[in-house]
């Protein structure tokens, strides 16, 4: 599950309208679905204390009780209502996802802009570091760092943030390099605008949509990494997240007990959120890529039949 954005795939940016997000969502329905899914989970996470039907720490039903009218998603090995746990777990998973993405966007966007705008040795140094991070197996690296530093939410955020900025930096750099060469940027420069002003007023708005698409896709990767680190036991074991719910299910023999409800709803929650981020990110990305709009294959299908030997009324 790597970043799907490709440098080559994003051509010169089409005109950015006044309300870019609205335009994107109107033309790409899947983006709207994605946005809906993300908002749904954010609302659930924020309102979890009110919405939770049972306490996420106190036993409220039998051990591994299957789903019922009272407990929609069943109960885990401690007799705790899974629906409540998943609602609460979404909070930390989302927090980690968004916070880590913020870290990686600030670093990645910054590195990409600096590298693309200033070029020369800045570019060389920054891109070597980026290249390095791109080829390092992320989960293995996260395993090492999380283990050395010890498990905690903040560490997981930092680890994911550090791991995820490299693809963003690459994509933004490529875009900044083309924006930089546009006539209007050269014109402002000739008028004496400072580098800071050019970057803030003219480069940043141009790469912003791409950065947004990238941010949304990075949230998906960050949440995936969070659940994975938690699954491998590298997160604070006392905190309830989507990752630790799966980990507990696996650790405490839910599989051999046949308790699929400890795994499926939680896994679907993770997958849905990742899917939502992906749909929204891809919709924005598609809107930015004019090359996807043209296709030269014939859309009509027809066949030539030889009429020889078919008799006079073959037609």
């Amino acid at each position: 599950m790597s970043m799907l954005l490709q440098e080559a795939a994003v051509g010169p940016l089409p005109e950015v309208s006044r309300r870019p997000l609205r335009t994107v969502l109107r033309h790409h329905k899947s983006g709207l679905i994605g946005l809906g899914i993300i908002l749904f989970f954010i609302v659930i996470a924020l309102a979890a204390p009110v919405l939770m039907p049972y306490s996420p720490t106190v036993q409220s039903c039998a051990v591994f009780a299957p789903p019922s009218a009272k407990h929609w998603f069943g109960c885990d090995d401690g007799g705790i209502d899974l629906l409540s746990e998943i609602m609460l777990g979404g909070r930390i998973s989302l927090l980690i996802g968004f916070a880590a993405t913020l870290v990686s966007m600030v670093i990645g966007g910054g590195v990409g802009i600096l590298s693309g705008y200033f070029g020369r040795w800045v570019d060389i140094v920054l891109m070597r570091i980026t290249d390095y991070l791109l080829v390092i197996p992320p989960l293995a690296f996260a395993l090492v760092v999380a283990d050395v530093w010890g498990p905690s939410v903040v560490h997981v955020i930092i680890v994911i943030g550090i791991l995820q900025w490299a693809p963003t930096a690459r994509i933004i750099r490529a875009q900044v390099m083309t924006v930089k060469e546009r006539v209007y940027v050269k014109r402002v420069r000739a008028m004496g605008a400072s580098d800071t002003r050019i970057i803030a007023r003219h480069v940043l708005p141009q790469v912003a949509p791409l950065l947004v698409a990238n941010t949304v896709l990075t949230v998906a990767v960050a949440i995936y990494l969070e659940t994975t680190l938690a699954f491998l036991g590298l997160e604070d074991p006392s905190s309830v997240t989507w990752g630790t719910i799966l980990q507990h299910a696996f650790d405490r023999a839910a599989v051999s007990a046949g308790a699929w409800w400890t795994i499926v709803p939680d896994g679907i929650a993770i997958s849905l959120l990742i899917m939502g981020c992906f749909l929204l990110g891809r919709a924005i990305e598609d809107a930015l890529n004019p090359r996807l709009r043209v296709g030269h294959l014939s859309t009509r299908r027809w066949k030539l039949r030889p009429l020889v030997g078919l008799g006079p009324d073959a037609i």
Partner: protein, 323 residues
């Protein structure tokens, strides 16, 4: 001469990256305050004697720079240290684990590439048809499933019909599997679930990339020319567009190798597969730092090496790269 330049450049980059991995490895474990090795209090069941022995063994009384060069020197000689847990050299153990990881990962990845490329082509060919919608939706769904979720679901679905663990016995030939063929069959059966999990988690992404790459290619002028010549769609796709559309897949496979290895760690953890991911997880849970450090380094080198090969392949496939 250009090609020699290119190869040397990529090789230099690969070697530099490996060097960076080694350095970061060293710093993470030794220099950061309270890090693993310097903080001997975190070694399980450490007696004062063991601590002293470890201090001497790791040369912790020397300067950091001296330690760093010692580390490099030992690595060059294939010494990755001694496991805390079984007191055996790390390197041969990890090599043996890698031997178990490679077949599973290769089979899973190759299957994912074949399935992904196939559905990607079909989707792009029949753009906006029902086939395209179903295939793309499935691909997005599988792309979104984390491997641990998919692995656990497969475990539950196939509980009792397919083995979910016990690969180490199959490899050792214990439990009545005598002779080459029955052992091979045993190993094969054990490989079904892990390899399928890996394949399913990867295929979605390959499908999506192949589809958009194919769509882009189908917008090229030479495709229009081919159609103007009166070629059938099938012929245009297979003979003209496919080769060019495949290029991004080469990049994608190379770029996602790190992620594939990450998926392998989780999958080995779920299915108790005696590979390098399992070894790393065990190292984490037993605080066996030399093992963890060695595992990370071997994975990093493997990924960098595969990336280097992919670079060369890309160079061979696309002459524009050298410009």
């Amino acid at each position: 001469m250009r090609s020699a330049d290119y190869v040397i450049k990529r090789l230099a980059f690969a070697l530099f990256t490996i060097f960076m991995a080694i350095t970061i490895n060293f710093f993470l474990f030794r220099v950061i305050p309270g890090s693993a090795v310097t903080d001997l209090a975190r070694v399980p069941n450490a007696t004062p004697q063991l601590r002293h022995a470890l201090t001497v063994e790791f040369g912790l009384n020397d300067s950091k720079l001296h330690q760093y060069f010692t580390y490099l020197w030992q690595l060059v000689h294939g010494n990755m240290g001694i496991s805390y847990v079984n007191q055996q050299p790390v390197f041969p153990q990890l090599l043996n684990d890698l031997k178990n990881t490679i077949p599973m990962v290769t089979i899973g990845t190759v299957a994912a590439i074949i399935i992904g490329v196939f559905f990607g082509i079909v989707s792009a060919w029949r753009r906006d048809s029902a086939v395209d919608h179903v295939s793309t939706s499935l691909a997005i769904a599988f792309y979104s499933f984390p491997p641990q979720f998919l692995g656990l679901v497969l475990l539950i679905l196939f509980a009792g019909t397919l083995p979910s663990s016990g690969m180490e016995y199959a490899l050792a030939g214990v439990f009545g599997s005598v002779g080459f063929w029955s052992r091979l069959q045993d190993i094969g059966i054990h490989m079904v679930l892990p390899a399928t999990t890996l394949c399913l988690t990867l295929y979605g992404e390959f499908t999506l990339i192949m589809r958009s790459s194919m769509l882009e290619t189908l917008g090229e002028d030479y495709v229009l020319t081919a159609r103007a010549k009166g070629l059938r769609n099938g012929k245009i796709v297979v003979r003209h567009a496919l080769r060019n559309a495949l290029l991004p897949i080469v990049t994608l496979v190379a770029m996602s190798l790190g992620w594939i290895m990450g998926g392998a760690i989780i999958i080995e953890f779920i299915f108790t597969w005696p590979g390098i991911g399992w070894a790393m997880w065990e190292a984490v849970s037993q605080r066996d730092y030399p093992m963890l450090q060695g595992g990370f380094l071997i994975l990093a080198i493997a990924v960098v090496g595969c990336n280097f090969i992919a670079d060369l392949a890309y160079f061979k496939l696309d002459p524009r790269v050298s410009e």
